[in-house]
């Protein structure tokens, strides 16, 4: 069979791909998969679109951002086959903020930023325009009552975050683990808030595929999905996570210190800046949870689209349902889930994130009217 090439970015949540590979699950399902480390999300976007990669470990909201022209050429289709994980991202603030505010102290954010702004321009980094990290950052800013335009927001590839903060290139960043952990461990900054604190059990990375691959090699894609699903299941056995961490730490995967990867993967965050250790109980990085994690939900996609409108990234409202329909391969997932005896989760229900108002996919304009911008 032809070689299938999947891209990934050095992040803890690329674990399902790594595990599927290391456990030989791809081979087990009869596909020849090669994992390819990529330099940035933009790079992954371009390679999926031009077919160099068949699929990749990718931000859940990236296909929406690209399709709507925020992070790419409008109309380019990248398909979401399944979700890889929930949770496990965070906003790290530089040591400039150390002492000004602590873990989850959102109320103090405004004053702290004001204070810093007296000295210099305050800049935050995320990983891709319209990507999940961008949206976590903006949600957090909105929750703290910060004008989005009063701070700098720049794009930096995840593995570059620590180095850039070290040289004062920005005062905060929103990125996936282990980079928040690494920053804390190196004393460069501290974990201010985790993404699960902003939206518990949010969809994070997804298996995003090239549309040609989705259409013409459906059989292969399903095999890939099955292997990954099995890997996710394996990963949610906490006893296995140490082993996973040992793989991830390798230079050719994430190339970050084992201790940091392992601790955060196990739900224990040393916040840094003498803020102590925060232990998450059930809302650390999850990969399976009986299939709850993996179902790609259109309503989630619509939420991200709504965020784009909310934060002025889209001037006009898109046809939410149509876009979600186009980009989310929920039917395909349903087939795979069925064959794997994994329960498929119901979709299109209203839900609420921590600092925001209720979101009803059936009445988005109501949400947009009431939400803080």
């Amino acid at each position: 069979a032809k070689k299938i090439k999947l891209g990934f970015i050095p992040l803890t949540d690329c674990a399902p791909l790594v595990v599927a590979k290391e456990l030989g699950l791809f081979a087990k399902y009869g596909v020849d998969v090669e994992l390819s480390k990529e330099a940035s999300w933009a790079n992954i976007r371009d390679k999926i679109l031009n077919g160099e990669l068949d699929g990749a470990h990718c931000l859940f909201s990236m296909p929406f951002s690209v399709y709507t022209g925020i992070g790419g050429k409008a109309g380019s289709e990248m398909k979401i086959a399944m979700v890889l994980n929930n949770n496990g991202q965070a906003i790290t603030l530089s040591k400039d903020f150390c002492g000004l505010l602590g873990y989850k102290e959102i109320a103090k954010v405004g004053a702290a930023i004001k204070k810093l702004q007296a000295k210099k321009e305050v800049t935050f980094a995320m990983t891709f325009p319209g990507g999940t990290h961008d949206i976590w950052l903006r949600n957090w800013l909105a929750a703290a009552g910060i004008n989005q335009k009063s701070v700098g927001i720049i794009t930096i590839p995840p593995p570059q975050m620590v180095a850039n903060m070290k040289v004062d290139n920005m005062e905060g960043f929103s990125v996936g683990e282990p980079w928040n952990g690494v920053a804390a461990a190196q004393g460069i900054g501290f974990t201010h808030i985790a993404s699960q604190d902003i939206w518990k059990d949010h969809p994070e990375k997804a298996l995003v595929v090239n549309s040609a691959f989705a259409n013409s090699d459906k059989a292969d894609l399903k095999k890939v999905m099955k292997a990954i699903l099995e890997a996710c299941k394996w990963l949610d056995v906490m006893a296995n996570r140490k082993k996973a961490a040992a793989w991830l730490t390798k230079p050719y995967y994430v190339n970050a210190p084992l201790a940091v990867i392992e601790a955060r993967l196990m739900g224990s965050s040393d916040l840094g800046c003498d803020l102590g250790v925060k232990r998450y109980k059930d809302d650390f990085m999850t990969f399976y949870k009986g299939g709850i994690v993996n179902t790609p939900k259109k309503s989630n996609g619509m939420w991200f689209l709504a965020q784009f409108v909310r934060f002025g990234m889209l001037k006009a409202e898109p046809n939410y349902a149509a876009v979600a329909d186009k980009l989310i391969l929920d039917d395909l997932f349903a087939e795979v889930a069925k064959e794997m005896a994994v329960p498929v989760q119901p979709d299109m229900k209203p839900f609420k994130t921590t600092y925001d108002v209720m979101f009803d996919p059936a009445n988005i304009s109501a949400y947009l009217k009431t939400t803080k911008k």
């Binding site: 690209v66 992070g71 980094a125 335009k149 700098g152 720049i154």
Partner: protein, 262 residues
């Protein structure tokens, strides 16, 4: 009195126009071949016009006019280039004056010269603990070589004739430096500076792309993340044009100091 408008300048304008038209046509062709994946000149022009109507607006840290970006890039280029020149010229004079120094330092120059600016960047970041410092550092370290090499070449190639004049008429060290060494090497130094500024300008994009924040390089990176090809194309044209202007500027300086053709 020179005629301001003569047949020569008419020709120049005609050729320049022709040149631009050809460039436009090739571009359009590429655009058609790639099935509009790459925007054509007209589409780009629309974006370009928009960008240039208010080049210097400043709506907070994320939204600055292209003029601002350009200014901040140019500023960095000049600083890095300036520091590089201040290192390169005296070092070049030393290397050019003494065969011993030349042989001793030449291998270092030869090894460090081909290293890409991007490879220096991480080092710069760590050494300076500041992205601005790192960007300036990589501009400095990649752009100083042509000036260094040209200066040392210029100094080492001072004709025996000129040196003999100094000897025969008993010039003091200072007089030798100011009346023979520097005047002779100046055209070489300026040629070096011209090459250096070209490299500095080329490197700024790389530096800003990696360090983020501001400048034309960041603008390219940002446009790539957003895949606004029109903006990237505009940026390419701007980079090209500014590069051209910098080069022309140094060309003028070069001619002003070229005693050879006077």
């Amino acid at each position: 009195m020179k005629k301001i408008f003569n047949i020569q300048s008419l020709y120049s304008i005609l050729f320049f126009t022709g040149s631009i038209i050809i460039l436009g046509l090739i571009w359009q062709l590429v655009s058609i071949i790639t099935e509009k994946e790459i925007p054509g000149p007209l589409q780009t022009w629309v974006v370009c016009k928009e960008m240039f109507t208010t080049p210097f607006y400043d709506n907070g840290p994320n939204d600055k006019g292209i003029g601002n970006q350009l200014m901040s890039s140019l500023w960095r280029v000049f600083i890095g280039f300036g520091i590089g020149s201040l290192i390169a010229i005296p070092l070049g004079v030393i290397m050019g004056s003494s065969k011993f120094m030349m042989r001793l330092f030449d291998p270092i120059v030869q090894i460090l010269r081909p290293v890409s600016p991007l490879a220096w960047f991480p080092l710069g970041l760590l050494a300076f603990k500041a992205a601005a410092g790192a960007t300036i550092f990589i501009i400095t370290i990649t752009s100083l070589w042509p000036t260094l090499i040209n200066t040392s070449f210029g100094v080492s190639s001072i004709p025996q004739d000129h040196k003999n004049v100094g000897k025969a008429f008993g010039f003091s060290k200072l007089k030798y430096l100011t009346k023979i060494l520097i005047p002779y090497s100046l055209p070489h130094i300026i040629t070096g500076l011209r090459l250096s500024i070209g490299i500095a300008w080329m490197v700024i994009v790389a530096g800003e792309m990696l360090s983020g924040g501001s400048g034309i390089g960041f603008f390219v990176w940002d446009s790539w993340n957003g895949l606004s090809l029109e903006k990237i194309l505009v940026a390419i044209l701007i980079i090209g044009t500014v590069g051209l202007l910098l080069d022309k500027l140094f060309n003028v300086v070069q001619h002003a100091f070229a005693w050879e053709n006077k």
